[in-house]
Structures are given as structure tokens and as C-alpha cells.
């Protein structure tokens, strides 16, 4: 394939079909190869999903010790937002049902997205960079690589299902006297979602000609199926049946315990894979059905400034994070009253978890969550400085009449201003939806102010990221995310680690007044802003004085 030629997207001439055995030659060798290349990823996906399920199961067995508690949980789960986001279990007032309501959708979607990414990684991505070309020049059938990756990933889906079934059966989620049928149906329903995702990923990889495109297409399809079942679950349930995720839900472990939707899932998978194989057999190597789109031949003048270019390049993340914050905040705002009523009846440990009682304690916790989302955006935007240096893309820019201080300074306006906007939006949207429910329009302004109190804390983390970029460029990106992960970990379980209290209090998120539960004090905010400014200055000063270091 010469890379200069446009991919040939015309329907291929009806070429002579190759003998079926030839198209699968080398599948065995490819299976070993796919396992070797993905063994760590496969293990991590399995561990994350099964581990998440096991954790929630153990946690719920701890907090729901009576049937009364389960009945209460079932009652408060029967609200639109829970039905929309996670679906409601068929038998919500059983232990299995409670765990299902909490975590089934998360585990299933995690598996589905993981499967789509794995299919792309072993399919379209390899084809795009030319690795498959090298393999296909050997004795390897057209479909061998694809069939091998489908087989290995299907094994992952089965392993996840088996793992979840075992955890469920051993943990005793099945009501006495029902055997382990519910646990088996549960595992099979997750496997079914994973297997359908193989079909979705495979078809996306045939349609798109880039791995980015394939992942985007597969993700959009999963998102659409999720929304279809959401609308179905909120309404009369008919649209739930228009989505394969809905079919898996309707297997109803511990409820109807249906097996036949699994057959639907497997049949859909077979159809999707058959279409993919047919497309693969007829198209040119490297081509996709959807042509890569062109774009403008010239750029507006604002792209020649680092800020203008940065806004253009980060357009996707900026829009994505803004939508995430607004939707999450509105969801929080609409359920906060219901959560409060639930917690009122819950035992002491839950109250400890959120740091107090009353609706303000809950709102304060939500502000921390919004601040976390704003931090992830701000750090993603900040580490792009190092990413641009590592890829070498910064060099032609710095070879223009542009100082390093101006380049980095303008780029840092995006996380600086962007995180403030996200915090304000998040607080305001939580307040507006909550305020609408309790007829108090003042909540929007009050919570916007509470959320923006976290801005200095976010800026301290941005400052740490900039300092790392200046002083330890090669380690800056993993260390930045490591710092955030460590801080969040300590915020969640700090007291269990027996760390000194002064250290816990000094972390940016804990140092911020716990608004609106606590009243706003200025001192910590001023100190943190100054710290952030000092760290940022130190990082930028070092960057201006050191070598540019490509990755």
C-alpha cells in the first residue's frame, strides 16, 4: 500500500472468492500471538470488572443486614434517575437485586467498551500502522487475524461471566432454596453483552479506516444502545427490547431468570461478525467503507496564537467535559433529596462517609465530586504541554517567533479558566435542579460559589503538573496522574492508612473548606492560590531554561 494513494473506497469488483480454509490459514498461530500481545490487558480488564463486582457485593452484604434495609433500598431505587442510569433489578429487594441495581450496568458497559477497544487494537489499529501487512505477507488467511482476536476476546467475555457467577454464588447472593440459577443467569448476561460488543467492534473496524474512527463508531453504537434502553426503562419498556443491552437486562437474574435472551444476543453477534467477515473479504487492505474526510485548506489567523490553537485542538475534550459536568450536576441535583431521605434511615457508617448529616453534607460531597471532574479536565489540558513536547510538535512552533513563556502561558489559560468555568457550571446546575425541586432559586448561586471554592485546590494540582513538566519532563505525565490518584485515594480512605492528621489536612481537597456544610474561610484559599502560582512559576521558569526534550 502506498500511503500517498487515497484509500480505494469503491465497492470492490466481485473478486473470486477464496477457498474458506485458505482464509483461515494460520488462525492457531494468531491466537497464540493475540494472547501474547494482550495478556496483561486481558488480565487487567478481567480483574477490574470481577473485582468491582466482588467489592460491591461484599460492601452491600455489610450494610444491608436486614430484609427491612433491602426493602427500603428497593423503594428508594425505584426513582427515574436510578432506572435511567443503571436500570432497576427485577427483584430489587433481594441481596442479589440490590447488587445488580448498583453495579450490573457499570460492569457490563465496562466490559463492552473494553471489548470494543480490544477488537480495534487487534484489528483496525494494526492494519492502519501496517503491522498486519507484514503478517499478511506470510502464510496467513484474510480472516485469520480477525477470527483469532474475536476468539480470544470472546474467551475474556466468558471468563468475566464465569468469574462474576462464581463470586455471586460463593457470596451467597442466591436466595436460599433457589440453587445458583440466578448467579448463572447473571454471569451469562454480562458475557452476552461482551460478546455483542465483539460484533460491534468488528463491524466498526470494517467501516472506519482509522483506529480512532473505529473506536469512536463502536463507542457511539454502545452509547446509542444504552440510551435506547434508558428510554425504554423510563417508559413502557418496549424500547428496552430494541437494545442488546436491554436484552441482557431482561434476562432478569433472581427475577424471571430467563435464558432465551442470551440466544438473541448470540444470534446478533453471529450476524454482525458475518457482515464484518464479508466486508473484510471484499475490500482492499487498508481501506474502510467510510472515507477519511478532508478539511479546510487554510487556517484562521487565531490558530497562530498558542491559545487559539490550543482551544481548537482541545475542542473535543472541552465540549465533552462541559457536557459531563452539566449532566452529572443535573443528575446529582435531581437525586440529592431522595439520597438524603435514604441516608436518614441508614446506619452511622454512611453518615461518617459523607462527613455529617443533613442535605448540606450531601451537597458538600457532591461539590468535591464536581471538583474532581474539573481537576481531571485541568490536568488533561496541562499535561498536553508535555505531550506536545514529547511528540516533537512543539519544535516547529518554537522555531517561529514565539517564546516558550508565551507558548506555555497561553496554553495554561485553558486549564486555569476552563476549570473555573466547569466548577461554576457544575455548582450552578446542581443548585438549579435541586432548587427547582424545593422551590428555592437561590440554590444555583449558593452552590456555584461553593463549587468555585475548589478552584485554588485545582490550581495547586495544575501547579504541581507544571512544575513536573519543567523539572522532570520525561516523568511528568505519569507522575501528574499518580499525584491525583494518590491524593484521591488518601481523601477516600486516608484515616485507614494511619497518616498524620496534619498531612491529611494539607492536601488541596481537604484544605478547602467543606462548603456548603462548613462556612467559607479565605485563609486556606489564599495560601493555596499563592502555592499554585509559585509552583507554576517554578515550572515555567525551568522550561524556559532547559533543553526541549522530545519523548
Amino acid at each position: 500500500m502506498t500511503a500517498t494513494a487515497l484509500p480505494d473506497v469503491r465497492p470492490a469488483a466481485p473478486a473470486a472468492w477464496r477457498p474458506a480454509t485458505d482464509t483461515l490459514a494460520g488462525t492457531g498461530a494468531m491466537i497464540r500471538f493475540v494472547i501474547r500481545r494482550n495478556r496483561i490487558r486481558l488480565g487487567v480488564w478481567w480483574l477490574v470488572i470481577v473485582g468491582l463486582f466482588a467489592y460491591v457485593e461484599a460492601y452491600y452484604r455489610d450494610i444491608f443486614t436486614t430484609q427491612q434495609a433491602l426493602d427500603d433500598f428497593a423503594t428508594v431505587s425505584n426513582i427515574p434517575s436510578i432506572k435511567a442510569l443503571t436500570g432497576l433489578a427485577a427483584a430489587p429487594n433481594t441481596m442479589g437485586g440490590a447488587v445488580w441495581t448498583k453495579i450490573w450496568m457499570t460492569c457490563s458497559l465496562t466490559l463492552a467498551f473494553g471489548v470494543v477497544f480490544l477488537v480495534t487494537r487487534n484489528g483496525r489499529a494494526d492494519e492502519e500502522v501496517g503491522r498486519t501487512e507484514l503478517l499478511r505477507s506470510r502464510e496467513l488467511g484474510t480472516h485469520a487475524a480477525a477470527v483469532a482476536s474475536w476468539a480470544v476476546i470472546a474467551a475474556l467475555a466468558v471468563a468475566v461471566g464465569v468469574g462474576v457467577s462464581v463470586v455471586s454464588a460463593v457470596g451467597g447472593l442466591d436466595p436460599a432454596g433457589t440453587g445458583i440459577t440466578g448467579s448463572l443467569v447473571l454471569g451469562a448476561s454480562m458475557t452476552g453483552v461482551g460478546v455483542v460488543a465483539i460484533g460491534i467492534g468488528a463491524l466498526a473496524g470494517q467501516l472506519a479506516s482509522t483506529s480512532r474512527g473505529a473506536n469512536a463508531l463502536g463507542s457511539v453504537a454502545l452509547g446509542a444502545f444504552y440510551v435506547l434502553r434508558m428510554v425504554g426503562d423510563l417508559g413502557d419498556g418496549r424500547l428496552t427490547w430494541a437494545s442488546p443491552i436491554g436484552w441482557a437486562q431482561e434476562m432478569q437474574p433472581w427475577g424471571a431468570n430467563r435464558w432465551w435472551p442470551l440466544a438473541l444476543l448470540l444470534a446478533l453477534t453471529a450476524v454482525l461478525l458475518a457482515i464484518s467477515a464479508r466486508l473484510e473479504a471484499r475490500r482492499d487492505f487498508g481501506a474502510g467503507l467510510l472515507a477519511e474526510r478532508g478539511g479546510p485548506a487554510s487556517a484562521p489567523a487565531r490558530y497562530a496564537t498558542p491559545l487559539g490553537l490550543g482551544l481548537r485542538l482541545q475542542r473535543g475534550p472541552i465540549i465533552g467535559w462541559t457536557l459531563t459536568v452539566v449532566l452529572t450536576a443535573m443528575m446529582f441535583g435531581s437525586v440529592v433529596q431522595a439520597m438524603h431521605d435514604l441516608l436518614d434511615e441508614a446506619a452511622g457508617p454512611v453518615k461518617d462517609l459523607i462527613g455529617g448529616t443533613g442535605i448540606d453534607a450531601l451537597l458538600s460531597l457532591l461539590m468535591v465530586l464536581i471538583a474532581l471532574v474539573a481537576t481531571v479536565f485541568a490536568l488533561q489540558s496541562t499535561v498536553s504541554l508535555r505531550a506536545d513536547e514529547a511528540s516533537g510538535i512543539v519544535e516547529p512552533q518554537l522555531a517561529g517567533a514565539l517564546s516558550r513563556a508565551r507558548w506555555a502561558g497561553q496554553r495554561l489559560l485553558i486549564p486555569g479558566v476552563g476549570s473555573a468555568v466547569l466548577l461554576l457550571l457544575g455548582g450552578a446546575c446542581t443548585g438549579a435542579t435541586y432548587g427547582a425541586l424545593i422551590d428555592d432559586p437561590g440554590q444555583a448561586g449558593r452552590l456555584a460559589l461553593a463549587a468555585v471554592a475548589y478552584w485554588p485546590a485545582v490550581m495547586v494540582l495544575v501547579g504541581v503538573a507544571v512544575a513536573l513538566f519543567g523539572w522532570l519532563p520525561r516523568l511528568a505525565i505519569p507522575l501528574t496522574w499518580g499525584v491525583l490518584a494518590a491524593m484521591w485515594f488518601v481523601v477516600l480512605i486516608g484515616d485507614a492508612l494511619h497518616l498524620p492528621q496534619w498531612l491529611l489536612d494539607a492536601l488541596p481537597f481537604s484544605a478547602t473548606p467543606y462548603v456548603p456544610l462548613e462556612s467559607l474561610t479565605w485563609m486556606p484559599l489564599v495560601v493555596m492560590t499563592a502555592t499554585a502560582a509559585a509552583l507554576t512559576w517554578a515550572g515555567l521558569h525551568r522550561f524556559a531554561g532547559r533543553d526541549v526534550k522530545p519523548g
Binding site: T2, R293, S298, I393, E395, Q397, A401
Partner: protein
């Protein structure tokens, strides 16, 4: 060992676009430059030759102020490449060896961004260069091949009126037709009195364009001078199919390393003796004849192999 030709003393009117003396630069334990000298006269094309890893890109990145030299002096257009980077870059165009672009922007957008960072965009010149290099500016950078990414950087550099062009192996991904377009463009640049530093690891490419050449090896300038002065380095490798009489060729002046194998005779000829030797070969009635310019690596092995071995032995 260094045969650097003395730089003319600086006069009020600048006659050197780049002047480098005793430049040193280390990355950890690796010494990339060990006292490197280079001059680029104004209005000339200076070839910058060396095998991969010799220090060409390091030198160019120091001249751009992307790297800070450990020692020695470097002057670019009369300024300090580190301290005066922003001011100097208004008059410099750069083509990197490995062109990284924004994958989701088009080639045309990238060209505009790069041009405007130094000077106002001249759409007519951009259009001219796009046509000359046959580049589609509406395609996303991620769909470009290596050669096309290189064309983006070349169009951006040549569409400007920069006083000094720093080109780091600019033709390594181009096909012969595009190399011809490149040659034409560099001749225009020179005709306008602008200066070019052109790095390459292929002697023939530099020979076509350059007025002067500096050869770098292991971070040191090993030769520097005009093309004519370096002519002695270019010894062609000749292979002829002969039925007999090969022994007589070995006696001719300028013929070296003659070997005889199955009716094929191979030998090396000094460039200035080539006409006489070829006439003698013609007398013998050869069935075929192939002549190749020597690769830079061969050239180095022949001229500097032992010195380099000694240098490396002393350092390691």
C-alpha cells in the same frame, strides 16, 4: 584532524549567517558534539554532511535555541540563538528531519499556523509552493505519508521570505520529481541572496546545491571547504565486465583497490582521473559498465577509519 577553513573576520555588513566555534553538547554520558565548528556565509547554500547520529540535528536544534550548548559559541544572524530566539526566528525557516503535525488538522491549516508564527502569511507564495510540491492541503495530517508530512514543512518554510533556512534532511522522504522541485526552490532562495544550511547524509544531494560543505563525524567537523576543495573525497566505484586486460587498469593513475572476479572487474577511481580511466576501459571493449558515487560511510571508512578507531579507543 580538523581542517576547518578560517572564517573571514566579521565586517560591519554581516557576511556570515551562522558562525559556530568549539560547540560542545552532551546528553548524559553521550557526547553529541565535541568542539564543532561551522560557518554559513550569507547568500550561499552550505551543505552539512554526516552519517546518522553524527550530531547534525543536535547542531541545528542548538541554532534554533531548542537546546542549550554546554560550551563554545554560536552566532545566528548576528544574535545569540538561545537568548534572542524569538527575534531571530522572525527571519528563520526550519524543516525538521522528523515532521510531527497535528493529526486532526489539515496540511493547509498546519502551513498557515507555522507561517504566521514568524511573519504575515503570503497566500500567493503558499499557493505556488502547494502546486509546485503537488500537495493536497485539505487532507488531515494523520492521513499523510512521511513524504507528504515533509512537504507540509517544506511548503511552510519556502512560502516565507526567511533570511536563513535551516533544513534537516529535508528530502529524505521525497521522490525524485519532488527532489527536483526542491532543488529549483533552493536555487531561487539562493538567487534572492538568502542563506541555507542543508543537512544530509547523501553526498550527491548536497553536491548539486551546495557552495560549501562541512562534514561532521562523531560531533567534530572533519572537513570543511568548497565543493571543489572536497573533490578528492569523491572516489567513484566502477564495475566493468571485461574479457581480458584488467591487469593493465591497475597500473593507471587514480585507480585503487582493483579486484577481479568471474570476468567482472571492480575498482575505485579518483574523480579527477575519471576521464583517462574511462578512455582506457573503452579501449578494452567492456560488455557493461556501472559507476557509483561512494556512499558517505565508505568515504568515512576510507579516510577516517583508523583515526576514529583511535579516538573511540581513547574515550571508552
Amino acid at each position: 584532524m580538523s581542517q576547518t577553513i578560517e572564517a573571514p573576520t566579521a565586517s560591519p555588513v554581516r557576511d556570515l549567517a551562522v558562525e559556530v566555534h568549539g560547540l560542545t553538547k552532551s546528553f548524559g554520558s553521550v557526547q553529541a558534539l565535541r568542539g564543532f565548528d561551522l560557518t554559513v556565509p550569507v547568500g550561499q547554500v552550505t551543505g552539512f554532511l554526516g552519517p546518522n547520529g553524527a550530531g547534525k540535528s543536535t547542531t541545528i536544534r542548538i541554532l534554533l535555541g531548542l537546546l542549550h550548548a554546554d560550551g563554545g559559541t554560536a552566532t545566528v544572524l548576528g544574535g545569540d540563538p538561545w537568548a534572542d530566539a524569538v527575534r531571530l526566528h522572525r527571519s528563520i525557516a526550519y524543516v525538521p528531519g522528523e515532521v510531527a503535525l497535528w493529526p486532526n488538522l489539515t496540511g493547509g491549516e498546519a502551513i498557515d499556523i507555522l507561517c504566521r508564527l514568524s511573519a504575515p502569511l503570503e497566500p500567493k507564495r503558499k499557493q505556488l509552493m502547494l502546486e509546485r510540491f503537488d500537495l493536497d492541503p485539505t487532507r488531515k495530517a494523520r492521513a499523510y505519508s512521511k513524504g507528504n508530512r515533509q512537504k507540509v514543512a517544506l511548503v511552510a518554510a519556502l512560502a516565507s521570505r526567511a533570511e536563513l533556512l535551516l533544513l534537516d534532511e529535508p528530502t529524505s522522504g521525497l521522490d525524485p520529481i519532488m527532489e527536483a522541485a526542491f532543488t529549483e526552490s533552493i536555487r531561487e532562495v539562493k538567487a534572492e541572496g538568502r542563506s541555507v544550511l542543508l543537512s544530509s547524509h547523501i553526498f550527491a544531494e548536497v553536491e548539486k546545491l551546495a557552495d560549501r560543505v562541512t562534514i561532521i563525524r562523531e560531533g567534530v567537523a572533519v572537513e570543511s571547504g568548497t565543493i571543489a576543495e572536497l573533490r578528492h573525497l569523491t572516489r567513484s566505484q566502477v564495475t566493468v565486465a571485461l574479457d581480458g586486460g584488467a591487469e593493465a587498469l591497475a597500473e593507471l593513475p587514480g585507480v585503487h583497490d582493483l579486484q577481479h572476479l568471474d570476468g567482472h572487474v571492480t575498482f575505485a577511481v579518483d574523480e579527477d582521473q575519471l576521464p583517462g580511466v574511462l578512455a582506457a576501459v573503452a579501449q578494452l571493449g567492456p560488455r557493461s559498465l556501472v559507476a557509483n558515487p561512494p556512499s558517505l560511510e565508505e568515504l568515512f571508512l576510507r579516510h577516517y577509519g583508523t583515526e576514529l578507531a583511535a579516538l573511540n579507543g581513547a574515550e571508552r
